[in-house]
Symmetry: C2
């Protein structure tokens, strides 16, 4: 019983801070997205592709979370955008308090804030970070059935990006089945198919981000 | 502070039950392995390949964990081995109590108990299930740097299986760098390279399991 109480208190505290962040993002007209996926599904590569595709039409900042290393911040920083690396030291998801600390160290004159969560398809889905939209990335290499096995993250997301479609000829995965399974969990998902190798689908995803930033 | 206390109590309870399971497995001469990976790295496919490769030389049972669905138990059950599906209803890892319940519903006359954890490279690594060895699966599609970003699971494992090596010609990943990174975190890892498409490396992994069952 004590566990439930403590968890509820932690979530209440998280939701309070997330609410404050959401209010600030709205007031400043900043579109914030929380990108969630398994390890190695291509979150960082997608961000590396989205930023040049935006062609400097939007001011972007990135907050990136990892258990260890600042590899991702180095990769994204090389594109010339402001980036903060959160190293969670083993914790399995970002929370609103960590994001607030990172956000407060950034210049706030931005249109788009990209938050790259820890690579984990389970725990990040339960933690509101003040984002306007959660984006779940699903690599074709992970098979067809993940939306059914890990429904919460697909249910809580606004967008599904099916990534690494260049590998489809070498896999048993079917994009149609991934989409069918994802839509059975959440019929409101906007779905994009992307490849960071061929560049396919990146412009469509970037357009979606731009449209939401200009709303 | 209360969170730390509760977590410690939970871990103490988990470790107590895991210790009881380990004692029982030793007494019954059962080799138990705890397989951990990201979602879609090929845990179930590897088990589907290991069981026929054992050629009925060992009696095997499987406990498989998922947030939702009994897909994995159905796939493994089709091979004719006893299997129990644990559906965690959203929980991000197996714990010793869940495994004990599953184990107590199985026939105990086995040589090898395979526990397939929830697909998550973070949380399962901290929970002892009474296993003799943790086996971490790393798909080549996840890139080279995961051992550095998710060090705990690589540090706590006895074996690293680098899976989906058939896809290497289409990826930027390097098996040499994955191995170098993994060994920098844990120099004692036994490493196998496998493909469930070509069958490469499956017999070597199976031999390792057989040798440990006969110890």
């Amino acid at each position: 019983m004590s566990v439930i109480t403590v968890e509820r208190k932690l979530l209440e505290k998280n939701d309070f801070i997330a609410g404050e962040l959401r209010k600030e993002f709205l007031e400043r007209n900043i579109f914030a997205v929380n990108i969630i996926s398994s390890p190695g599904s291509g979150k960082t590569s997608l961000i590396e592709n989205i930023i040049p595709s935006l062609n400097y039409k939007l001011k972007v900042s990135v907050i990136t979370g990892d258990l260890q290393t600042d590899n991702d911040a180095q990769r994204i920083g090389a594109l010339g955008v402001p980036v903060v690396q959160i190293i969670t030291n083993g914790a399995c998801h970002l929370d609103a308090n960590l994001v607030r600390d990172a956000w407060n160290s950034l210049n706030k004159d931005v249109n788009l804030l990209i938050i790259e969560n820890v690579g984990n398809l389970v725990c990040p889905s339960g933690f509101d970070l003040g984002e306007a939209a959660k984006i779940v990335i699903h690599s074709t290499t992970e098979g067809d059935d993940k939306p059914l096995k890990y429904p919460q993250v697909f249910r809580n997301s606004s967008v599904l990006v099916i990534n690494k479609i260049d590998l489809l000829p070498y896999l048993n995965s079917s994009v149609d089945i991934i989409m069918e399974n994802a839509l059975s969990v959440n019929p409101h998902l906007d779905i994009f198919q992307t490849s960071c190798v061929s560049g396919k689908g990146i412009d469509e995803l970037t357009s979606w981000l731009q449209q939401n930033c200009l709303k």
